[in-house]
């Protein structure tokens, strides 16, 4: 266990450095973004009939929320703020700490991403085993080609097609929002039902777009673990299919858990399209909004949180790998 602890410490240190690097990069990118959100706000007030003088004062109040000082001062303040979990104040949401906005949105991303990934993982590994065993047959071939195709189709294409079928043509599932406000939040059937109903299409899209990848990964993992001989021998001996399945599962599935952890981390950022198309109020949706509003603090914060999620997933994946790989467990370093 000490080895795992040592590895964990190393990972945390590296993860920490990386977060700092990413924070620095995003700070400097974001500080160089052209476009003036205050000008847009001023313009909007004037277009709404406010006198230009009054609008100038109104905008000045909002400016008060923005950091001032030299670039270096702003930078040290920004990094210092990170340690206090203070990500600054957003332009479009003045008065509300960025962290609050982010954690609110993160909840909505985590829920469907988890559900979709687990669903696709389960379906994908089962079909993957099948595809590996039957890969000489037509069905196995079709499974792997459909796997590659679904894996290849961009999420937004899938999402658009699903919206077209289920929300527009059939009209059976909502393609907007998170939950009906009429239901009181809590453990009641109405609320949970509405939650599931709204999450169904996003989850389905995640699952469909990811499961092709799992089929392929599982198929190749199974093939690696067993080789052709085993299947051949098993088929010759007429071994029960369930026993074959169990044998395969035990040995071929474990490496996939590492990938599972990794993909969970990446999905946090990959949710952008799905959330945009289904208007699901998660992190990706927030990030697009922040980009459109030129909301520097929010943009930086969302990007940082997504990156931190990925880094953490990487650490988890690696630790998992350490636990399951006997070579690593015994202290051997694997490059």
């Amino acid at each position: 266990m000490t080895l795992i602890a040592r590895r964990l410490a190393g990972h945390l240190a590296r993860g920490f450095v990386m977060i700092l690097v990413v924070a620095t990069i995003s700070f400097f990118i974001i500080n160089n973004i052209p476009g003036d959100p205050m000008a847009a706000r001023y313009e909007k007030l004037v277009e709404g009939g406010m006198a230009p003088e009054a609008a100038r004062q109104a905008v000045k109040v909002l400016y008060g929320f923005q950091p001032d000082g030299t670039l270096w001062q702003q930078y040290t303040e920004f990094i210092g703020g990170l340690f206090r979990l203070d990500l600054g104040v957003s332009v479009s949401r003045p008065g509300t700490p960025v962290l609050d906005v982010l954690t609110d949105a993160a909840k909505w991303t985590v829920l469907p991403v988890l559900a979709g990934t687990l669903l696709s993982f389960l379906v994908g590994i089962i079909l993957g085993v099948y595809a590996a065993i039957k890969r000489t047959g037509r069905l196995g071939d079709a499974l792997s080609v459909s796997g590659s195709l679904l894996h290849g189709v961009p999420q937004y294409v899938l999402a658009l097609l699903l919206t077209m079928i289920f929300a527009t043509l059939l009209g059976v599932l909502p393609a907007d929002g998170s939950v009906d406000i009429l239901y009181e939040p809590g453990w009641n059937a109405g609320y949970l039902g509405s939650l599931v109903e709204h999450a169904l299409l996003p989850v389905l899209t995640y699952a469909l777009s990811a499961y092709g990848g799992w089929i392929l990964a599982m198929k190749s993992s199974v093939v690696t673990v067993l080789g052709d001989d085993f299947i051949l021998a098993a088929e010759l001996r007429g071994m029960k299919r369930s026993i074959v399945f169990r044998y395969i599962a035990r040995n071929a599935i474990l490496p996939l858990f590492t990938m599972l952890a990794l993909s969970l981390g990446l999905l946090l950022g990959g949710a952008v399209f799905i959330e945009k198309i289904f208007n699901y109020p998660g992190l990706g949706w927030l990030l697009i909004g922040a980009v459109n509003d030129r909301d520097y603090a929010l943009m930086g914060g969302a990007f940082l949180l997504i990156t931190v999620g990925t880094i953490l997933a990487n650490i988890v994946a690696d630790l998992f790998y350490t636990v399951i790989d006997p070579r690593v467990r015994s202290g051997e370093e694997v490059s």
Partner: protein, 301 residues
Amino acid sequence: MSATLIPETGSAASTLRRNFWRGVWRVMRRKPSRLVGVVILAAFVLMAVLGPMLLPSPLPNDPTAITQPPSAEHWFGTDPQGRDVLALVVTGSRYVLLTAAITALITVVAGTSIGLFSGFKRGRWDTVLMRLTDMKLTIPGLPLLLVLATVWRFGSPWQMGLVLGLLGWGGVARAVRSQTLSLRERGFIEAARGLGLSTTHIIGKELLPSMAPYIAMNMLIAVTGAVYSQVGLFFLGVLPYESDNWGVMLNLAVFQAGALITPNAIGYLLGPLLAILLLTLAIVLVVDAMDEIFNPRLREE
């Protein structure tokens, strides 16, 4: 039979080269459907090169026939300016494919050289470069592109391809490095050195050819990703744009013409959507065929 269980990556380059063409022939003969991918891909390239030359510029518009459903005259209908959607898809393919080509070039050059260098030199350089690659692979690409989109103007395919290429070499670098290390472990390089061959020769004549398929496959994967993120960025509407870009067409179809609501605009959505699907199909088929040719474990004797 049991020999096939051991990865064949270390077999000499010349055999692999010979195997390559034999593999191509075998796969093509056994499953002609694999050829379809290459044909579609070629058709797309042809369309991107010749298409815009054959069509008038700017494309003719008919203000009396805006957002029309598919018809005999306009196979995919017209856009909200009254232009033929199919013609827009054709002219738009140039940006997509040019971007893809530039991304491919950068991915291959940067990925291969970094991977080779890292695998060859090992030691400290390897650690530094691989940490860098790890980091690049860790930073989620699409959110980074979203943030970058606010600073950069991806107006030309050159700029877009450059950025996507610089973001995409990680996979190729990893693959090349592990191949190099693996060849190295088998004493392949030491043997070549022993024969008095120069490093350039080893790399150029022996290493690269044997790794070419892996590079090509990883490149294709990177290019697919690049095409999607590129079209996706325009679809999200965070970039300034031209009207005959597939992503822009998707964006306008959904958010301006209401393609998910009114059947009249359905062609405007389906045009670019099918183009992307077809391109995906082509690349998937090609990768699948390559996989079949090069992956000995998936190859059936």
